[in-house]
Amino acid sequence: MNNIYNVVIAGLGGQGVLKASDILADAAFRAGYDVKKSELHGMSQRGGSVSSDVRFGPQVWSPMVPIGEADVLVVLDETQVEVNRTVLAPNGVLIGPDRLDAAALKNKKSLNVTLLGALSAHLPIASEHWLAAIHANLAPKLHKLNEQSFALGRAAAGAREAAAV
C-alpha cells in the first residue's frame, strides 16, 4: 500500500472537518487519483469529536485509514491531537493548529482551509486542483477569504521546511 496516501483530518463538530476532507478528496479526484473518503455523520453536529479519512492513489480499497498508517494527520483542535495520534504512521507528519500564527488568521472559520494549505505542501496534488476544489465546495462569497487562508497555510509550511533545511 506504499503508493496510497493516507490523510486523517480531525477536530470537533462545527470546525469544518468534513468540509476540509471534502475539499481534499475533491482535489485528489481532480488530480486523477482513485479516491476514497470516509467519516461518520450524525452525532458530529453536536460538538463531539469528528474525524475524516481521505485515501488516494492508483487504486484504493478500504475507505478507512488503518491505525498506524496515516501519512499526515491534520488536527483542528489542540484537544484532539492525543485522541488521534495513534492513527499516524511511525514517520507520519502531524499538522496541528499550533502550526499557525493565530493572529495571522483573518477568520477563525477558515482554520480548516488554512491547515489544508499546510497539508498541501506534503501531497502530490497541484495547486490548480486545490483551488478548483475550494471553489467547488464553498459558496462564491467565501472563495477569496479561503484562497488567502490556503495560501497562508501553504506559505507557513514552506517556511517551516526551509527552516528545517
Binding site: 478528496a25 479516491v35 473518503k37 450524525g42 453536536r46 478500504s62
Partner: protein, 545 residues
C-alpha cells in the same frame, strides 16, 4: 477519470441512480445514515417526500408501485422494524412497477440505539437483497434492483451500511436519460385482485408464487448475478459482502476473493464452485454470521470470525486479525469528546428542570436523548421511537404512588408524529390512577438527523408550505384533560410551575414546550420568508394553515 465520473457518497449514488432509473416518487423517514438519499434525490430534481414514519412511507411506496410508478423507499435499519408489517405481505403481492426498499444499517452504532443486522429481514420476508460495497455498486445495484423488481414483480431490498452510505468513492454513471424520454412503466391502474388483495384465499397461492420467484432469482444469481471473483492463491479463499469485501482486498491482496452482491437468495452453486478451488474458506461479514450459517446449512465448510468481531464495524486491521485467528483483546479505541446538547439549545433548560424536580423520565429518540448525559442525567429509559409514552404509562401503572407521580414522558416533535400518536390514544384510553404527563419538546424540526421537515412543521421535504398538524389541537381532540403550550424560556419558571401542578393532578396532561432548534432557526426564518414571498406573488397558492 472519464468526464462523467463523480466522487459520491453511497447515499448520493443511490439518489443519482434513482433519477437515472426514472423513479417517480421517493418516500421515507429521516434516519442516519439514510437521510441524504431522499435529500439528494430532491436536489437532483426528483419528487421526494418525508412520511410521518417508515410504515407509512412503505405503504405509500407500495401504492405507487401498484399504480405503475417506479418508487424508492428509504429508512435506517430500525425504521424497517416499523415498516415490517407492510413489507412482509408486500412480498406476496405482484407489483406493476419497481419498488426498491433501502435499509441503511449502522454496525458500530455511530448514531443508533442498536446494531441489528437487517440481512435477517431478507430471509424472514423472502425478499431479494442487494448489498453494495462502494458507491459505484450502490449506483449499479439501485438500477439492477429496479430491473429485478420489475422482472419478478416484487419489492427488492437494498441494504447499505454506514460506511457505504457516508464514504465517498468514484462513480462512473451510465448515460443520464434524455429529458422527456419515459423510463420504466407508465402509471395507470390495472385491476388484479388475486395479486393485490391478501385474504387467505389469494395469499395461499401468493406465498407459493413468492417461493417460486425466489427459486428463479437464485438461479439467475448463479447464472449472471452481481458477484465477482478476484483471483489469488488457492490456500485461502475469502467470501465477503458489503464493505467487508474492501477490507478483505486490502488485508489479503494475495487471497482469492468472492464478493457477493445479491446476498439473498444466495448463488449457492457459484459459492460451491469457488469453495472447491480453495483449501480453506473464510467468510468475512459484518454483524451476525448470516452468510456463514447459510453456507454451513448448504453443506459448504467455511470458517467464520471469532465472536468478538460480531460487535462493531469491521476494519482492515480486524480482518487481518480474523484471518490470523487472533482472539486477543483489541486496543481500546481512543476516547474522543462525546456529543452534547448545543449551547443555547432549548432542551437544556427542560432537562435542568426535570433533573432538579427529580422526575423519572421516560425518554425517546432524538437530540434530546443527550439529556441522559452530564450535567443533566435526566433520562431513565430510551428504547425506540415513540416508546417514551407507553413506557411512561407502564411505569405509572405499577410504581408506588409517590414514585408514579414523578414519571414524565419526554418526546420530540418529529418523534411524536412518527409514533407518539398511538401512545397518546393509550393514555386517554387506559389512564393510570395517578394520571400522566407527556412533554413534547417541539423545536420545529427533525434536529438530530440534520433538520428535516415533518408534518408538525407545515413544510414539505423541500421546505414548501403544506398542511400542518398542531399537537395541542390534536391532544384536545383526542381527549387529553390538560393541554398547555409553553413558549419555553428556561429562566422564568413557567415550565417548572406547570409541571408541579400537573404532576399532583390525577389527570392526563400534555405540555408542548416550543422553541426552535438554535441551528435550524435561521433556516426556518428563511423558509417562512420564501413561502410568504411566494404567496404574496401568487395568492391562490396559499395553503390554508
Amino acid at each position: 477519470m472519464s468526464d462523467s465520473s463523480q466522487l459520491l457518497s453511497g447515499d448520493e449514488a443511490i439518489a443519482l441512480a434513482a433519477r437515472h432509473a426514472g423513479v417517480r416518487l421517493g418516500t421515507g423517514y429521516p434516519g442516519t445514515p439514510s437521510t441524504e438519499i431522499l435529500e439528494t434525490f430532491d436536489r437532483l430534481g426528483g419528487r421526494a417526500q418525508w412520511s410521518p414514519n417508515e410504515k407509512v412511507a412503505l405503504e405509500v411506496g407500495l401504492g405507487a408501485a401498484f399504480g405503475g410508478a417506479r418508487t424508492l423507499v428509504t429508512m435506517k435499519h430500525v425504521g424497517l422494524n416499523v415498516a415490517a408489517d407492510p413489507l412482509f405481505t408486500a412480498a406476496y403481492t405482484d407489483l406493476a412497477a419497481g419498488l426498491v426498499v433501502v435499509s441503511a444499517d449502522d454496525p458500530g452504532m455511530a448514531s443508533s440505539q442498536n446494531e441489528q443486522d437487517n440481512r435477517h429481514y431478507a430471509r424472514a420476508a423472502s425478499l431479494p437483497m442487494l448489498e453494495p460495497m462502494d458507491s459505484q455498486e450502490a449506483y449499479d445495484f439501485t438500477l439492477l434492483a429496479f430491473d429485478l423488481s420489475e422482472r419478478w414483480h416484487l419489492p427488492v431490498m437494498l441494504r447499505i451500511t454506514t460506511r457505504v452510505c457516508h464514504s465517498k468513492t468514484i462513480v462512473r454513471p451510465h448515460d443520464a436519460p434524455v429529458p422527456g424520454e419515459a423510463i420504466g412503466p407508465e402509471p395507470g391502474f390495472r385491476r388484479d385482485i388475486p395479486a393485490r388483495v391478501m385474504i387467505p384465499a389469494y395469499a395461499k397461492p401468493a406465498h407459493r408464487r413468492l417461493r417460486q420467484k425466489l427459486a428463479e432469482i437464485a438461479a439467475w444469481n448463479d447464472a449472471e448475478g452481481p458477484n465477482r471473483v478476484f483471483a489469488g492463491h488457492p490456500q485461502v479463499g475469502l467470501i465477503a459482502t458489503g464493505i467487508a469485501a474492501m477490507h478483505a482486498r486490502e488485508a489479503a491482496p494475495q487471497a482469492c476473493l468472492l464478493t457477493i452482491g445479491l446476498t439473498y437468495p444466495l448463488p449457492l452453486e457459484t459459492i460451491r464452485t469457488f469453495a472447491a478451488g480453495c483449501e480453506r474458506l473464510v467468510v468475512l461479514e459484518e454483524g451476525d454470521p448470516v452468510l456463514l450459517d447459510a453456507l454451513r446449512a448448504a453443506g459448504i465448510p467455511a470458517q467464520g470470525k471469532p465472536e468478538q468481531y460480531r460487535f462493531g464495524e469491521l476494519t482492515v486491521a480486524r480482518v487481518r486479525r480474523i484471518l490470523a485467528g487472533d482472539e486477543t483483546a483489541e486496543p481500546a479505541p481512543p476516547k474522543g469528546k462525546p456529543p452534547e446538547l448545543c449551547q443555547g439549545c432549548s432542551h437544556r433548560g427542560v432537562f435542568e428542570v426535570l433533573r432538579d424536580m427529580n422526575c423519572i423520565v421516560a425518554g425517546d429518540i432524538g437530540c434530546y436523548t443527550l439529556g441522559v448525559l452530564p450535567p443533566f442525567q435526566a433520562m431513565d429509559t430510551c428504547v425506540c421511537m415513540g416508546a417514551s409514552i407507553g413506557v411512561g404509562l407502564g411505569l405509572r401503572h405499577v410504581l408506588p404512588e409517590e414514585e408514579a407521580r414523578r414519571v414524565v414522558s419526554v418526546i420530540g416533535d418529529s418523534t411524536f408524529v412518527h409514533s407518539g400518536l398511538t401512545g397518546l390514544a393509550e393514555m386517554v384510553y387506559n389512564p393510570p390512577a395517578t394520571g400522566h404527563v407527556v412533554l413534547i419538546l417541539d423545536n420545529g424540526t427533525t434536529a438530530m438527523t440534520g433538520q428535516q421537515e415533518h408534518p408538525g412543521t407545515g413544510r414539505t421535504l423541500n421546505h414548501d408550505a403544506t398542511g400542518r398538524i398542531h399537537f395541542e389541537d390534536l391532544a384536545r381532540a383526542m381527549g387529553v384533560n390538560n393541554v398547555h403550550v409553553v413558549d419555553f424560556q428556561a429562566a422564568d419558571g413557567t415550565l417548572e410551575g406547570l409541571l408541579k401542578d400537573l404532576l399532583t393532578r390525577s389527570e392526563t396532561s400534555l405540555i408542548v414546550a416550543r422553541q426552535p432548534c438554535v441551528l435550524a432557526a435561521p433556516k426556518i426564518r428563511f423558509y417562512e420568508k420564501a413561502v410568504a414571498d411566494r404567496s404574496a406573488a401568487c395568492p391562490s397558492q396559499v395553503v390554508d394553515d
